[in-house]
Every structure is written in C-alpha cells, then in structure tokens.
C-alpha cells in the first residue's frame, strides 16, 4: 500500500455512530418489566424511549364488569407499595358519588394507615435505591424497619401487601386492640432508626457524587410533564394533594409540604427522607385521638352510583393518583380511568437523563421511584 492510499484509507474510516441498546425488560434496576430503548453516543444517552405493555392486565376494563366493592381489590395490584392509598382513592370517589358522609373514626383510621403505607413505601424505596447504586446493606436495613409496619398491617387488615382494607363507606373491620400500641412503639423505634439512614447513605461520598447534579428536572418541565409527588416537589413544584385538596383527616393535622428547588437526584432523595419525618408527625398527632364510633357507614348491598362523572385525587407515595368514574346508574361503572403518578413521572425520564451516562440513568430511575404495574395497569 502506498503512502497516499494509506492516508485515503484513514480518512474514510466511518465516524462514530449512534447505537441502540435495550435496557430491560429483565434489567434488575428497572424494578419490573420496563423496557427502555436507549439511543447512545458512546456512554452518553441521546434519547430514551420507554416501551410499556409487558405487565398490562387491563385493570380499567376489568373494573367495568365488577361491582363497586369488587373494584377496590383490583387497585391493590396497581401501585402495590401504596395499595391502601389506592383503595382509599376508589372508596372516596364512590362515596362522593353516593354523597355518603363517612364516620370520623373511619377518616382518622384511613389517614393513619395511609401514612404508614407511605412510610413503608419510602423505606422500601430507600433500601432499593441504595442497592441500585451498589450498597446492599441499605436494602436489608430498609426491609428490617418495613417488617414492623407490615406486622401492623397484618394484624389489623389481614394481609401484608395487598391489604384491601377499605370498602365503600368505611373500613372492613375495626382496628385491632393492639393497633395503637404497636404503631406508637414503631414510631418511637423508627425515630431512633431514621438518623441511621442518614449516616449510612446521605453523607456517603460515593452516594452524593453519584446523585448530586444528576438527572436535573426544572420546575417548568416538572409542571408540563405532570411530575407529582416527591419527585415533582424536589423540582420546586408544590403539588401535595394532602395540602392543596385535603381529604380524609388531612385538614386537621399539622405537617409541612416538603419542597426543594435543586431538582436533581439528591433533592429527590432528600425530599423522600424528609417526607418520612412528616409522615411520622401526622401519625403521632392522630394515633391518640381516634374518635369513637362506627368503623363503617351503612351502605346498600348493591351500590349504584347516580348517573354522572366523579373524580377524586389522592396523594400516594409516588404522586397524585386520580380516579375517574363514569356511571350510568348500573351496579358496575360505565368507565373507570386511573391517572397514575408513575406514568407521568416516567414521561419526564427522557428530559432528565438526556446527556447523562448510562450509570446515571440507574440513579435517576431510582429516585423517580417507579412501580411498573402502576405505569401499565
């Protein structure tokens, strides 16, 4: 080969190209069957395209053949980490349609168990977040503390994960005699253990290096994508449904809406840790003041909602869940639509992770706290 040919050959070497890679559906850090189609330039993410449908169970369609009591247990299977809050959303929507006033006792019980659910969800998220970033210790510690909450659920509601404790008009059974004592014991215990979380992970140099200034989401983007929950509030979007549109007993408790303005992974992390403190505050205010009374308002055996449309929103551990029921005065709804927080939060993932590296995508997804069955329904 002559010198001239060599130079021509070097010049015709193809330029670097974009290439595609599948992340999931079996990738462990997607926490379920989420498939992300990544467009990469080397290690830098150019574009993310989420592909859904791997765990679609047509819950909304199944609701159309079930009675209003039967719908409730299906919502357990959407966002299984905040199942009690999902159940509450459906029950509140049905009660709105029936114009049924539930007893004060029910409101307080629902609020306490909702906050316990939120705590247990955040504990699991904290453990899994650490594990995604390579620290398996946090996973075990998170589950250790979560176990005490699942025990409370098991004793009062009868199940550990898919509790199905709400029924339209109230709750299924009255609280267990041990409930108050156990909950108080747990709060005393967890107030000592939560600083341990900070010691283990928050100050850790590897963790902070991997989360600070990663996965930035601006306030405007958060609003336009509808990113709610702790993820939205970490970008400065004050969207706590418990504060803005109080339901159940949230109008009578004092708590702060956690808002950070940084919008990066570390802010989302801090927002959830701070929310755990607030949840404990709410439980402490209510646990000694559960009013006496019935645990369920009287409803007919066959519930028929008057013709019309009903919408109710609640704050789950992930964000705003909306339940929209269209009724045509039959025993099952004409149409049910769930506005799930996970779906909207996922839609912002492309904006957040663009320009970062693949390893940062794992951290970004972790702090979004995605639950795939909630996204897909």
């Amino acid at each position: 080969m002559t010198e001239q040919e060599l130079i021509t050959n070097i010049e015709t070497v193809p330029e670097t190209q974009e290439y595609f890679i599948n992340m999931g559906p079996q990738h462990p850090s997607t926490h379920g069957v989420l498939r992300l189609l990544l467009t990469l330039d080397g290690e830098i993410i150019k574009k993310i395209e989420p592909h859904l449908g791997y765990i679609h169970r047509s819950i909304e369609k199944m609701c159309e053949k079930d009675s209003y009591q039967q719908i409730v247990h299906l919502t357990d299977r959407m966002d299984y980490l905040s199942c009690h809050i999902n159940n509450e959303a459906v029950c509140l929507c049905v009660e709105k349609g029936l114009q049924l006033e539930v007893p004060e006792r029910v409101k307080v019980i629902r609020t306490i168990i909702s906050e316990l659910t939120r705590l247990s969800s955040h504990q699991l998220w904290w453990g899994v977040m650490g594990m995604d970033l390579g620290a398996i210790t946090t996973f075990l510690y998170g589950f250790r503390d979560r176990e005490l909450i699942t025990d409370i659920f098991e004793e009062t509601c009868g199940a550990r994960l898919t509790m199905n404790y709400n029924v339209p008009g109230g709750v299924m059974f009255d609280i267990h005699p041990n409930f108050q004592k156990r909950t108080k014991d747990f709060i005393t215990y967890f107030r000592k253990k939560l600083p341990e979380y900070d010691e283990l992970l928050t100050g850790n140099v590897i963790f902070t290096e991997r989360t600070k200034d990663i996965g930035y989401l601006s306030k405007d983007d958060a609003i336009s994508f509808g990113v709610t929950g702790p993820s939205g509030r970490a970008s400065g979007f004050a969207c706590d449904v418990r504060k803005r549109f109080p339901y159940s007993a949230y109008d009578r408790v004092q708590f702060e809406e956690i808002v950070y303005t940084e919008g990066d992974c570390f802010a989302r992390y801090k927002a959830r840790i701070a929310e755990m403190w607030e949840s404990m505050k709410i439980i402490e205010q209510l646990i000694d003041n559960i009013p006496e009374g019935e645990h369920k308002a009287k409803t007919k055996a066959v519930i028929k909602l008057p013709e019309g449309e009903y919408y109710q929103r609640v704050e789950t551990a992930r964000g705003e869940l909306g339940v929209y029921i269209v009724s045509d005065n039959k025993k099952s709804p004409y149409r049910v639509k769930f506005r799930s927080p996970g779906f909207s939060n996922l839609s912002a993932l492309d904006t957040m992770a663009r320009g970062n590296k693949i390893a940062d995508l794992v951290a970004t997804m972790s702090t979004l706290d995605l639950v795939i069955p909630d996204i897909d329904r």
């Binding site: 039967q70 247990h73 098991e154 898919t162 010691e199 283990l200």
Partner: protein, 170 residues
C-alpha cells in the same frame, strides 16, 4: 494539586483536594460504624429462622390464608347455599352446587349445598366472601403454605363428606 498556566502551584486547590479526601473517608467510616454496631450487637438482629421455627410461628388471627367452611364437632356447618359469596367473589373462585332436601315430617323441600367448590389458585384473598356471608359460615384460615406439585390439588371441596347444616340456621 493543580498548576495554573503560568506555572504557579495552586495551593488552595491542594487544600480542597486533601479536605475532600478527608471528608470522603470520614463519611465512609461513619457508614461502616453503623454496620459494625450490628456485627458487635447480634441481639439486635431480628432475622427469623423459617422454616426451622415453623412450630412456634403463629400468624395473626385476621391473617387471610385460605377460605374454610366452619364445621363443629358434630360435623355440622352453617352454610345454607345462598350463593352470596359466589356473587361477591370478583374472580369466580367459589362455586356452589346446591341440591334439594325434603323434610320427612313436613314434606317441605329446602335448598342445601351439595358441594362447596373453592379454587384456591384463583383466589386473591380479598375477604369479600366472608363479609357477604349472612350466616358467618365461612372464615379465613391462617394456613399460608399452599404450594403443591399438581395444580388440580388447589381446587378444594370445603364441605366435609357427610356434613349437614346446623339445625336452626336459615
């Protein structure tokens, strides 16, 4: 240690560099201290040794393991065969096949259950059947070890052979 373009060492950079290392190592040791605490205090570990502790393991009384039909010592139950549980079940895991029984004295025929079929494999343990039962004939048992080698074993007949309805239950 960083060097600026004109060759002068930037000592502020060096100071930051060393303090970064110091803070980083300190944060790692803080984390390790928590882990070390649990190594030296094995009593604070809460792991349960399942299945070794199976004999002492007691589930909570409300725990929903499986649906059972309550029988008393005379092999009598309270199920009238009204099918309220079958209607309340969202997944069709309960099937009631009812029969007729004629009272020899009055000659009246009453509806009784022939077989109470329960498909455990379809059950979501939502407790709606228990709530709907007008005579409290069924309840949730605490047994949770349901794994079997053959799927057909999960279809159970809940009324025991030869069992009868309790007198007086309507």
């Amino acid at each position: 240690m960083s060097r600026s373009a004109d060759g002068i060492y930037n000592f502020m950079g060096l100071k930051n560099y060393i303090s970064d290392i110091y803070n980083g190592v300190k944060s790692l040791i803080t984390g390790m201290k928590v882990t070390g605490h649990y190594i030296t205090h094995p009593k604070e570990i809460i792991t349960q040794q399942y299945p070794e502790n199976r004999d002492t393991l007691k589930m909570f009384e409300r725990f929903r393991g499986e649906v059972v039909l309550i029988h008393d010592e005379n092999n009598q139950h309270k199920c009238t065969g009204c099918s309220a549980c079958e209607l309340a079940c969202p997944n069709g895991s309960i099937e009631i096949i009812s029969g007729k029984e004629t009272d020899p004295e009055t000659g009246k025929s009453t509806k009784i259950i022939d077989t109470f079929v329960y498909h455990l494999s379809m059950c979501t343990f939502c407790n709606l059947c228990i709530l709907s039962c007008p005579t409290d004939a069924i309840k949730m048992a605490q047994d949770f070890e349901h794994s079997v080698f053959d799927r057909s074993k999960l279809t159970k007949v809940l009324n025991k052979p030869g069992s009868k309805i309790m007198p007086g239950v309507k």
